[in-house]
Structures are given as C-alpha cells and as structure tokens.
C-alpha cells in the first residue's frame, strides 16, 4: 500500500512538474543570492555556507507543504483515503515520503554544486550533503502535521509556517552544526546521531499525529 501511494504521488508530480521545479529553483536562487550580495570574501562565505543552505532548504520545503494534502482534499481523494481499510498511518507515511522524494531529494542533489559557490572544501561539502540527506525527510514528516492541521483553512499558508517553523529549529541547529563542527576539525558524529534520532522519532510519531489531524480537519 505504501508503494501505491508513493507511486501515485510521484506520478502526479511528474504530470505537474512546475510545482517541483518551483521549489528547486527557489532553493537555487536563494542560495545563489548570498554570495552575490555579500561579496567574494572567501572566509566569510565559508562560515556562512552551512547556515544559508540549511535555511534555504527549510524554506523551500515549507513552500511546498501547502500542496501536500490540499489538492487531494479538494477533489475528494483524501476522503477516499480516510475510508480505506488500509491503515491511515501508512498512507500518510507514504505521502510524506513522496513529498520528500519530490522536494527533498532534488535539494540534496543540488547542495554540493551550490556549495562550490561558497568555496567549501570537499569534506565539508560531503558533510553538508549528508546532513541534508538525514534532515530533509524530517522536514517533510513534521511539515505533514502542519499541513494536515491547516487543511481547508483560509490563510493556511501563514499558519503552517507559524506551526512548523519552531519544530524545524532543532533540525536546523544540528544540521548546520554538523558542517561547522567538521570545518572546525571536530567530529560531526554526535550531530549526525542526533539527526538520526530525530528522524526515527519523526517516522514513528508524525504519521500518527498527521492521521489524527486529518480526521479532525475532515469532520
């Protein structure tokens, strides 16, 4: 069932490529604006890089949250999902995974290329990419809760950011912290362990919270 939902959402994303590309271009443009505006001071750019890339990834992921459930809500397919004999937990997990594959993975793939603009050394680029790989699924999973809670509300977009951004902060701190720690010559293992722990908690808890929120929103 998980595979059916992921396959379905990927198919929908392929038919509506503009949505996917908007998120990716937003990320690329935001990250590229900083070196242009700050100027070519290599040392400053190197220290700023992890923070900027992570903030941009966070905003880009949030930009696409509104669409996670709203189109399914409007055409009635969400209703059918709630009435499915399959567990809603798995359906929601599938949707969050599909959201990550569509919005998170392209960001992860672009990050090393964008990192070059900040003159990051190869090992820092590696840590940055790995931290995004661990961190972006958490963003999709947490974001799903916010998207479900604000379903069908007017001005839901603003409310989603208010709800979700505070929950993103730990991911942001440990994600960009890992890169800084590795540039400073310290180990980044602890940061990665914490990100991994967040991911496990999010996988176990967020689909459940999202499913309950959807039931409330649909009533």
């Amino acid at each position: 069932m998980l595979l059916w939902i992921i396959q379905r959402d990927l198919l929908l994303a392929m038919r509506r490529q503009s949505d996917v590309l908007t998120t990716l271009f937003f990320f690329i443009i935001v990250v590229s604006l900083f070196p242009l505006s700050v100027g070519p001071e290599m040392n400053m750019l190197r220290t700023m890089a992890p923070g900027i890339v992570w903030v941009a990834a966070l905003l880009a992921s949030m930009l696409s949250l509104g669409r996670m459930f709203s189109s399914d809500y409007l055409d009635g397919t969400l209703e059918q999902m709630l009435l499915s004999p399959h567990s809603l937990f798995l359906l929601v997990l599938g949707k969050a995974l599909a959201h990550w594959l569509v919005t998170g993975v392209p960001l992860v793939l672009m990050a090393p290329i964008l990192g070059i603009q900040y003159d990051l050394p190869a090992d820092a680029l590696f840590v940055l990419t790995a931290s995004l790989l661990l961190g972006t699924p958490i963003l999709s999973l947490i974001g799903a809760i916010g998207a479900a809670l604000t379903l069908g509300l007017r001005g839901g977009g603003v409310l989603v950011s208010l709800l979700v951004l505070p929950l993103y902060i730990p991911v942001l701190i440990f994600g960009s912290g890992a890169v800084e720690a590795s540039s400073a010559g310290l180990g980044y293992g602890a940061h990665f362990s914490l990100l991994g722990a967040f991911l496990l908690v999010a996988v176990a808890f967020s689909p459940w919270a999202t499913a309950s929120s959807l039931r409330i929103s649909m009533e």
């Binding site: 038919r15 059918q80 999902m81 004999p85």
Partner: protein
C-alpha cells in the same frame, strides 16, 4: 445490519436533524430525501464514520462503527459529492489507484474492461481533466463495479449523468441488492429501483 439510533446532527448552533432512527437489512435500499440543507450529506458522512453524530449511535452488524475501524471500511463504498478522481491521471490510473486504496487491487485489463462497460471505451488513456462532468462521474462510478463491499453509500450518484448512464446505475444497484447488498442514497431525481425492502428517510 446497519442501524442508526436517535441520531442528532448539529452544525454550529443549528440542529439539522434529530431522532433519526433506521434499520437497513441485507437486500434493502434506503433513500434519504429532504430539501437542500436538511442534512442529507451530513447523515451520509456520519454513516461513513467521517464525522461523529452529536448524539446517538450507528452500528454495523451489531457493533458501533467507531469501534470497528478498518473492518467496517472493508465493507463500505462511499461515493460523495466530490468525484474522488485526480484530474492529472488517466481513467485507468484513477480506477486502479482507487481500487487499490479500497483494498481490491485490479490489473490493467480488468480496469479497461470496466471502463469499457461504463461507456468510456477509447478514452481510458486520456487525463481525466479533458473529460466532461458526466464522464468524470462515470469514472467515479466505475469503482462500484470493481468493489465487493456490502454497503454502498451514494450521495447524489445521478447528477450530471445522461439517461443511458442512469439506466446503467439502476441495473447495477438492482444487481447489487439482489445479491444481498445494501444501498443508502440521496437523489433528487426519480428512479425506480426494485429491491426486497425500500425505505424512505425523510429529513425535515
């Protein structure tokens, strides 16, 4: 089989209906009627477990539906106001995905055959957004043909359909009822359906 006890529906501070009681047995059809805004759709959504009654209880085979969960959804098919089809997907993809969601996966050949039957032959591979309202409704109704559920809850299934499609629905419902299925439906159109027991539920 399906029983409603003293159901009350409240929307905001308005009481849409109260003291609604019914019992629907195998092979029976219940038509819910009433003016616009009398709570027909609200009642059907309650029967699906999408919303809870303010008071009263709905039970299926003697057990309250809210404690049944997935077991109940194995036996129910709901067709609401919204067609529940994705505009970007083709009719085949829509039908295969919705039947997989409903717990009865079907192959491509079967999907093609069913769509042919509902009069969409030759249009199976078009994205649903280029189809007309009536054709979209037919894609949604095709789900009934592949479902093996006992209880069908249909909210205005005849809207936007032409006479041949209405005839098809009538035959489909009669066949379902003859096999011991149950139907709860709302409609503003006249349609004669032969069934073992026919009930009218009038909402004020």
């Amino acid at each position: 089989m399906l029983r409603g006890n003293d159901l009350v529906c409240v929307r905001g501070d308005r009481r849409l209906f109260e003291d609604v009681n019914f019992f629907l047995d195998a092979g029976g059809i219940m038509r819910v009627s009433g003016p616009n805004g009398s709570g027909k759709t609200s009642l059907l959504r309650m029967l699906c477990g999408l919303s809870l009654p303010a008071h009263g209880e709905i039970s299926w085979r003697g057990t309250a539906i809210r404690s049944l969960g997935g077991e109940y959804y194995n036996e129910v098919t709901y067709l609401g106001h919204l067609a529940g089809v994705k505009d970007e997907l083709t009719a085949i993809e829509n039908l295969r995905i919705s039947s997989a969601l409903a717990g009865a996966e079907i192959g491509e050949d079967k999907a093609r055959e069913v769509l042919q039957y509902v009069g969409l032959g030759g249009r199976e591979l078009l994205p649903v957004k280029v189809l007309s309202q009536g054709q979209k409704k037919r894609v949604a109704l095709a789900r009934l043909l592949v479902s093996s559920t006992a209880l069908w809850i249909l909210d205005e299934p005849l809207v936007a359909l032409d006479t041949s499609a209405i005839k098809m629905i009538k035959d489909l419902l009669e066949q379902h009822l003859a096999q011991g299925g149950m139907v709860v439906m709302t409609t503003h159109q006249e349609i004669d359906i032969a069934a073992a027991t026919i009930q009218q539920l009038q909402l004020a």
